[in-house]
Structures are given as C-alpha cells and as structure tokens.
Amino acid sequence: MTTNTAPTSSSKTGFFKTLIDGNEGGLKADGLTPAQKLSLRFVVIGLIYFGFAAIEGMLMRIYQIEIISFIGVEQYFGILTAHPLVGIFGSSYMIVFGAFLFVVPFLMKKPLWSLKVGQASFLLIAIGTFTFWASGFISHYAALYTLYWPLPADFDQFSALGGSFFILGIALVMVGSLLFVLNVFKSIMYTPEGWEKQPGGALLSSALGFTGLANLFRKEKKEHLVPLPVAAIARGSVDVALNALIITFSGVLILVYMVWHLFGVNLADTAIDALLYKNWYWWGLDLVADGLVLIFVAGTWYLLAMLITGKKLFMQNIARAALAVELIVSWTVWSHHLLSDQSQPAILKIVSGELVTAFELITQGIAIFVTLATLWLARPLKMTNELKFLLGGLLGFGLAVPAGIMQADMGLNRILHNTQWIIGPHVHVAIIVGLGMTLYAAIYALWPLLTNGVKLYSRWMSTVHFWGTLVGGIGMGAFMGMAGLQGMLRRTIYMEGEFAPYMWLAGISGALILIGFVFFMINIIMSVGLKGLLGIFTKSKLDTKDLVPAD
C-alpha cells in the first residue's frame, strides 16, 4: 500500500489540522458506501475494545509485580474475568466479522446479503461486550471465562443481579455472532435482485468442503465455486455458530439459577454434573480457540498471500483439505483441557486430548507452509506493512501451536496445567502475535478498499507498532512461560512477589505491546482524521448495495 513519511513540520496548527481533517484530506466519510461504513464500524470498535483489553492486561501485569492498593482482590478477579472476553468477543470477533462481511461479498463478486443484519450484529456485539464488561466492573462478578460449575451460580461469592447482566451481555454477543453467520452463508448462497439465478446448494457445498470431498471419488472433478478464503470463512463460521449455541445454552442454564435466586429460591447446584458440564462447555468454548480462530487465521493468511502476490495459492487443494480436517479436528479436540481431571475417561484423554490435538500441528503447519511457499514463488516482494505483519502472524502461530501441543500431553500437563506456561507462550503469543498481527496485516491490506485510498500518516509509527507487538508479544509470552516452568500459576495472586523478576520482564514486554498499539491508533486517527472517524458512524449518503463507490 502507499504510505507517507512522517511530517517534518512541527507546527501545532499543522498537527491539529491533520488530527481533525486527516492526512492529505483524510477520510471522506460522505464518499463511503454503507458496506464500507459497516466494516469500518466493526473495526474501529474492535480496536477500542483491544485498547480496553490491553489496559486491563497491563493492570494485571503490574499487579503481579506489586499489588496495586486501589484495586481490591475482587476487582482484580473481575478484571481477569472480563479481560479475555473483551479481547476475544469485543476485539477479535469485531475486527474479524467486520473484515469478513466485506471480504465475503468482495470475493463472491456480489453485495452483502443484508446490511441491516450486519448492523444488528455490530450493535449486539458492541453493546453486549460493554454490558458484560460493565457488570463485571460494577458488581465484581468474577466466575472467569471458564465458568466451572458451580462457581457461576455461587451466590455466596457473587451477586446474582450482577451475574445476570454479565450473562445477558454474553448472550447479546452470541446472538450477534449467529446473525453474522447467517449473513455469511446467505451472502454466499443468495441471488441478488435482478441477477441470474445462482446455484445456492452447489455454492454451499463448495464452501463447506463437500464438493472437494466428493471430488476424491469422481473421475471428472468439479471446479470449486467458492474462493478458498471464502471456504475458510464459511467453515470457521460453522464453529462460530456451534460455539454460540453452546455458550448460549450454558448461559441460559446459569441464568435460571440466578433468576430463581433473585426470587428467593436456591436451586440445588448438584443437579448439574460438574464434569459433564465441563465437557460440554469446553467442547463449545474450544471451538473458538482450536476451531474458528485457526480456520479464520488460515483463511486470512491465504487471502493475504494472494493479495500480496497477485497469484494463486500454492497447492490450494491440499490447503482446502487441511481446512476441512481442521474443522473436524475442532469438534473432537476439547479433552486436552481436561487432561488433569482424574475422572475424565482415559480414552478421551488419549484420543481427543492427545492424538486429535496433534493434528493441529499438522493442519497449522500446512497452512504456514502453503502461505510461505506462495510468497516465495512470487519473489521479489516489497516489504510492505501487510507482508511484515503477515510474517509476524505466521511466526506467532509457529511458536504458539507447538507450545500448545506440548501441554496437550498427559505427562507434561501434570506439571504445566494452569501455570503461566499455558497463558504465556501458548495463549498470549497465539492471540497477540499470531492472531493480532494477522488482523493488522488484514487491516493494512484492506485499508485502501475500505477508506477509498486514504494515505497512511506515518510509516515509522507503523514500524514502532510492528516491533512493539512482535518483541513485546513474544517477550511477554517467554517470560510468563519461564515463570510457569518455575511453578507460577495463572488465575491467582502472589502477594510476596515470588516471581517478581519474571513479572517485571513480562510487564516491560507488555508495555511494548501497549506502546505499539498507541502508535498504531495515533497513526490511524491522524490518517483518517477525527472528522472522518466520526463520519464512519453517520448514515451513508450513498444509496447503494455496492461494496465500494462506483467511481
């Protein structure tokens, strides 16, 4: 993409003018289509929620170095509960959904099925995230994202009213997610008004991989009607839907206990088997971590590789097959979260927990190889923002997936489960470096299309953002991992500074991530201007279903 160098003028007038109007005139909101505005709204709110999660993360990093006196223990665990949910639903889901609601129709060469449904998704997820965040902040509802039964219904520790709002917020996010899934599949299958009838069934079959599967047994192979990135988005969306159904079901169950409690009746929590609950809940929850994230990320890598090189993907049939395998794997992999549960059947631990999980090394390895090979075959490439962030994202998953495979082993899990190793080298490196940098690459790649070619304000700011995220993310994961290997647990507080040296280093690394993010946001705001930024949230003046303006 085209970028400018940082302005040399230090005049305040120039700075404030750029801040308000944007770089070289900034974003002309009046010229944005409804589809562009919709995607930009998702991305902007997603980035704001990333800021929430980053600040919460830094507060907890500081807390692990030295107890912050004005944050009580209940508040700390409230933050710990909100942090991953805001990060995943408020930030990652928003950015990913916003990008995909643009990419799917863009690649299918037809308008989005419904802008209204897209707008409903946006509002539900944005409001839902704020609802559960605020209820946790105010009431200190802190049952963590794991919600291990019967903790979410333990009203000796938590407010049932605060918890009800927390669950309501999550439910809104889930409904918004289901509407996103509906929009994706309808956009793939539907026939726009006045168009020649589209083969909806065949398109769906191609998107879900049935065509590819049938091709294995056909002499004359059918062509894939759906581009590979759209197939990835469709398959990841299946996991989004299944996840939303499980989380909603669990939420309703918890809500029943809360509502009865508010009416003065305490239902017996022993009515629910804690281990069975843990199994179904992790089955659904893991569809995020080990399902849609990996599938969406692989699809985004493929899209970026094709956009950057302008060429077809290397061995794309294998890449399609790997996506199908990943989908099946994501449905059967949950038991690696229960390797330390002694009553969990051994067969589930071995087959689901260890062996099926090992497939993730293979499918992600294939995705990394295919992406790198596609880039390699197009040498020489210019080291643009999207390329360097893409390489950062590949590195992130290249480091985090093997870390996850190691902990998904019955021998190693015995001494790693719930330590900082899990949350450091595996989770945070995967999310901040792997997923985060992939999303930034997608934002840079889609930037010209979404903003009608607004020029980026500063190249060096994007460089600071790149190195801050890469070094900070890997560094934080590494130091948390070192502490974990020394026995430091997650989800607890060390009052005596037992692991302070590691936590100082992890905190400094976390600060690098935050600094990088601040520079990124300044760069974005200075590029589009405050006028342009606010204009994203006004009604589009263009009455069109087209993705980009006709001119």
């Binding site: 938590f158 330390s340 009553s343 390489l391 190691m406 489960h417």
Partner: protein, 184 residues
C-alpha cells in the same frame, strides 16, 4: 529417576532451541523474499517431507513421554495399583481439610492422594519451598479425584489450589503439609 524438575528442564531446552530455529527461519525468509531468487519452484517432495515431519513429531511426543516420564503409566494404571499410603483430603469453603497436620510420606513408595470437593471445582497441587511444582490435578465436586505419586527427595511440600474457585481461592495454601522422609 526423572522428576518434574528434570522434565521441565528438558522442555525448556527443547522449546528454546525450537524458538531460536523458528525465529531464524522467519528472519531469513523475510530477508530472502525481498530478493530476486534463482529457484522459482517449491518442491512437492519438500512439502510432503515437511508434513511427514509434523506427523512424526506430533504423535511421537506422546510415545516418548509415555515411555520416559514415570507418572504417565502410573496415572493410567492407578486403578490396578495398591498404594503404600493413602491420604483422604476434603476441600470445602476454600479450605483443605487434611487427615493430619503434617502428612509424612515414605520415599520411593506409591502414595495415593484422594481429594474430595464438597462444593466448588478446586485444584490440588504440591509445591516445593522455591514455589516450583511437583504435580497437580483438578478437584471436581461429585467425582473421584485421586492421584498416585512417588517422591524421591526428602523435602517439605506445600499444598496449593491450582484452580480458580473465586476470589478467596488464592489464599488456599497449606505450607509444609507433606513431608517426604526416608530418601538416602
């Protein structure tokens, strides 16, 4: 005999080496991909070789740990094993209720810890004085939570809950709860 300390050192060395290799590959790739190259193909043999390596690494990890880490077989066959000593522990209201103030265990003998939760999901972990972990398991209410362990060093160990059970859970520590004796 291998203990948790040895296993974690091995893991640290292996994973660190892997990280160095992976970062080096990406740095080399980032440099090379911007240069004009001679070779314009990527061999399919190379690709399938890479996939084969992933398959071997992914599955052999579990075979290696099963055959080298002593507590894996021990854990899988604990139903058929008679322990030399057994300690029944109850957890309730964020407190460990121990059968004795100090549980003295014999070196190199199989010890069974059977932990019952009467309310929430907790964790049960043994930790050395330097806070490093010996082992842990989840403690799920309504289910049997038992773990078989063999100790090989004279030491005093703390019990700590390794699972979040609400804000009060971080205080669930019983120092010097287990004392290992009899090691030469």
């Amino acid at each position: 005999m291998i203990n948790s300390h040895d296993v974690l050192w091995g893991q640290t060395l292996l994973y660190t080496a892997y990280v160095v290799v992976m970062i080096s590959v990406i740095i080399w790739f980032a440099y090379s991909v911007t240069k004009e190259g001679k070779n314009s193909t990527v061999s399919k043999t190379f690709f399938w070789g890479f996939v084969a390596v992933l398959v071997v690494v992914g599955f052999s990890l579990h075979l290696v740990t099963y055959n080298t880490i002593p507590w894996v077989k021990q854990d899988m066959h604990r139903g058929d094993t008679v322990a030399a000593q057994q300690f029944d522990i109850v957890v309730e209201d964020h407190e460990f209720i121990l059968p004795a103030d100090e549980m003295i265990v014999q070196c190199n003998e199989l010890i069974l810890f059977d932990v019952t939760s009467n309310d929430l999901t907790y964790g049960f972990g043994l930790f050395r004085d330097n806070n490093s972990m010996v082992m842990q398991m989840q403690v799920v209410p309504g289910h049997r939570n038992d773990i078989l362990w063999k100790f090989e060093e004279n030491e005093s160990l703390a019990i700590r809950s390794t699972e979040y059970s609400g804000p009060a859970g971080y205080q669930m520590i019983v120092p010097d709860a287990v004392t290992v004796v009899g090691c030469s």
